[in-house]
Amino acid sequence: MIGELLAAVLQLVLVGLGAPLLIGIVRTLKARLVGRRGPSPWQPYADLRKLLGKERVVSTTTSWIFAVTPTVLAATMLVSALIVPLVISRPALGFAGNVIVLMYLFLVGAFFLALAGLDAGSAFGGMGSSREVAVAALAEPTIALAVFALAMRAGTINLGGVVERVSADPWLALAPGHLLAFAAFFIVMLAETGRLPVDNPATHLELTMIHEAMVLEYSGPDLAIVEWAAAMKLFLFMSLLANLFFPWGVPTDAGVATLAVGAIVLAAKLTVLAGLLAVMETAMAKLRLFRVPELLAGSFALALLSVTSMFLLR
Amino acid sequence: MTAEPITTATNFLAFLGLVSTLMIVWRQNWAGRRRLFVVQSLLLAALATTIAVYGHRAELFLVAAIVVLLKAWLIPRILGRMAAGTPPRPVAPGRSAGLSLLAVGSLIVAAYVIMLPVTTVSDLPTVGGIPLTFAMALIGLFVTVTGRDVLGHILGFLMFENGIFGLALLATYGLPGIVEAGVFLDLLVIVLIMEGVVLRIRREHDSIAVDRLRELRG
């Protein structure tokens, strides 16, 4: 029982504290790739601490929804942290949910963030919400089909079950269906977490930003929490990607040593993925908003391919 | 076998009736038609008396008398009163009687075909005349349908009635008394009502042409 508790705490700490570091690593890698020295990977912690110190400025037109949204965002991310198998295949809340619950928890966050965007009553908030919700809607079918591909292969959609099933039979991981599902899921991650081809996290240019437009009105501690939640979302998505599709090294029992090994293996995988993300982002420019559906349609086609390949090669 | 006198007499009278009907179709002007109608009614009365004599049906004498009284005298008088006001209609040029005679011919053939079930099954001596009288009825209907004015309609209807009366005589040697009386009463009332209606139409439209009566559509 102690192991379970320890694993839960470890997962919370990893997600809570590790998320800004992941963002930092990606930023520094991107800078290095374009030949700049770039800020140190610990820079996001400094930003958060600065924001926490600042004064909260709240617009008169907003309502309680604007005030509650940061808390809801953070809460959903923390609960998701206990569902995704980071350092142990069966995390504390593993029994309570599966991939579909995870996706809907992220949707709760998107729902309230969009409402907060609208609440301020400015044109940018509305535009950001409208586009964010459009992208989220178009990403849904891909997630569902990718999950369907996994469910066919693993016979269950409980995350722990999938991890154990795939790690037990390595050939599964190399099946074409599996790789196609990974590619589809990767594109969805880019769309959901607002990374480059869909939305440029680094800019404040009104016409191009989707995620940033919604949080334009936030300031001080609220902005800190929102940024923190966004970082956690990226962390969770990447670790989900890593552990579902390449689950080796995810321990199944909760001993102190095994947990440490699990954490290190997770850190390694995330760094590799962060590198891949950085390379992708520097290589690609931002897509015009009305080309994003074609990208998502492509990912949907990949997911459909993975499902049909699962059929044929069964 | 020598045909019984009743067969030859009824066939001959029925034939004459049909000829009178054809004459009515051929004659276009009203006065001539009215006179031919009287002839037709008299022929039917004669038919009734022959059946009364040979068929030993005493009540048919009374029926024949009523036919003469009603259809040969009273109704033509009313028709005359009705037609009094209208200006004599010139015979429309180019409206040859040939076309209608052709149609009447086909109606006679149709009458024979329709009455086949009756003529094949019946063994009555007067069976020969049935298709002829039925043809008279159909031609009467044809005159009603092609009537250009109200009088044409009424005359056609009366000829149609005559044809049916003849058919009834030949097929059943006369209907039961109360029904026969009812039919004559109805016929008289129809003509009287028609007279009232025609007067009102003439007062309303100051003409009894049918194309004035086309306002109610849809």
């Binding site: - | 059943t172 209907l175 109805d186």
Partner: protein, 476 residues
């Protein structure tokens, strides 16, 4: 005895009303209809006990079907008589009353007599009695309608006379000069022996002849003109029961023909004519200009449904058809009475002239809406149940396709009727219209709708048994 009273009262009433004037006429008018209704009730009671009653040595005979029709005619004429003072212009009421009762007499005679020939005379009599009723208002249009009505119906009924003569010929040819050869009872008794070919030929003439009186398409052309130009009580009587008398005559002869040559012959004809009638009505219901013509076409539609019921046959089919005749009579007479009031208030029979009826005339409008729902065949009124009965017979007798087509056409008619009802009932109410004062005037139509709800939702105990008895009577 009560049969003679039922027939004598309207005749005597008509004769007296020719001379009566003023308050005496008004009292006599109402008294005559009430007495007829009472006598009809007596006849119905006697028939329900004794099966059938006879008068004048068998010339008059009332069995189940006749009693049903006599009751219906009495009821509808009561409704029309009560309504008459409101809508018939006072100048014409002197001519209206005697003809009205004569009209009722001829209809009662047609259904009460056993002699087929006398029935023909009576039906011809109904036409003659109602010609001047149609032309009561002496307008140019009603004159034209009356003329066409007289001409077409006389030609039609004359064709029916050929049929009657042929039936008589078949009877004599087979059994010689029977005493009462033209009596329906003898015809039914001798029917199996009659030569089928002749009887079937006779039925074609009878169908065309009496079909004209019943308003079956394509012989229906006089009906919209006559019913829309006649004053409301007369068109209520004509649409409600005169058409049913035409159907009554057809049913009588159908029984004889079925016994002699088997039911297929009459079924084919009745189903064909039934479908054509519903189709023609549905087309003309789509965009009528005048709401009285709309009601006339809806009568054609419902008579077509009755014809389908007779064509399908079986206890449900014929029983349903008989019930449908009663339901339709009640609903249509109520509708015509109400349309009379609407025409009196709005001054025009055009649908476009009447808007916001529910707003300006709440009582009449409300009743009009309910009656329209009834005529469209919606529960809780009886027409829904009788239509379901008829179509259940349709499917049971294997005529699935025809039943389905009928149902489809009914939807078309429903759409048309509802469209016009909407144009009249809703919209901005016309300001200067006042409703007929007092609720008393709404009592007769309200009563009719109440009866309809009875047959629609809660059948009185005897009804099912009566319908089965009548169906069996007609050889099902």
């Amino acid at each position: 005895m009560s049969l003679v009273v039922v027939l004598a009262t309207p005749l005597v009433g008509a004769i007296l009303l020719v001379v009566a004037r003023g308050i005496a006429a008004r009292v006599l008018h109402l008294l005559a209809t009430v007495l007829t209704a009472a006598a009809a009730g007596a006849v119905a009671v006697q028939v329900s006990h004794a099966g059938s009653i006879v008068a004048l040595g068998g010339l008059f005979r009332a069995d189940g079907l006749s009693a049903w029709m006599i009751g219906l005619i009495a009821l509808v004429s009561l409704l029309a008589a009560i309504e008459a003072p409101y809508t018939v212009p006072s100048a014409a009421v002197g001519r209206f009353r005697p003809l009205f009762h004569l009209f009722v007499f001829t209809m009662l005679l047609a259904v009460a007599t056993d002699d087929v020939g006398l029935m023909w005379v009576a039906i011809e009599g109904t036409t003659l009695a109602s010609v001047f009723l149609v032309n009561l208002e002496r307008s140019r249009a009603s004159l034209e309608a009356a003329y066409k009505y007289l001409l077409i119906c006389s030609v039609g009924v004359a064709i029916a006379f050929i049929g009657t003569v042929l039936v008589y010929f078949a009877d004599i040819h087979q059994f010689g000069h029977e005493a009462h050869a033209l009596r329906w009872t003898t015809l039914v008794r001798l029917a199996p022996g009659l030569p089928p070919r002749v009887v079937e030929l006779a039925f074609v003439f009878l169908l065309v002849g009496y079909g004209t009186k019943a308003g079956l398409a394509p012989m229906h052309t006089w009906l919209p003109d006559a019913h829309s130009e006649a004053p409301a009580p007369v068109s209520a009587l004509m649409s409600g029961v005169l058409l049913s008398v035409g159907v009554y005559a057809l049913v009588r002869f159908k029984t004889v023909v079925d016994l002699s040559g088997g039911p297929e012959f009459t079924q084919r004809l009745l189903l064909a004519l039934g479908l054509t009638s519903i189709a023609t009505a549905a087309v003309f219901l789509w965009a009528p200009t005048n709401y009285k013509r709309m009601l006339a076409y809806s009568s054609i539609e419902h008579i077509g449904v009755v014809c389908l019921g007779l064509g399908f046959g079986g206890l449900a089919g014929v029983g349903g058809a008989v019930l449908h005749v009663a339901n339709h009579a009640l609903a249509k007479s109520a509708l015509f009475v109400l349309s009379g009031r609407i025409r009196a208030a709005y001054g025009s029979a055009e649908i476009s002239a009447v808007t916001g009826l529910l707003g300006t005339m709440p009582v009449t409008g409300g009743l009009f809406l309910l009656a329209m729902l009834a005529i469209m065949g919606l529960p809780p009124f009886g027409l829904f149940v009788s239509e379901v009965l008829i179509f259940s017979a349709g499917f049971q007798s294997g005529h699935g396709i025809i039943a389905a087509t009928g149902l489809l056409l009914l939807v078309g008619a429903f759409a048309g009727l509802l469209r016009n009802a909407h144009r009249m009932l809703y919209g901005t109410p016309a300001p200067a219209i006042v409703d007929v004062p007092g609720l008393r005037s709404a009592v007769p139509t309200g009563l009719a709708l109440l009866l309809l709800t009875l047959t629609g939702v809660a059948w009185p105990p005897g009804l099912a048994a009566a319908l089965d008895h009548i169906a069996r009577l007609l050889g099902q």
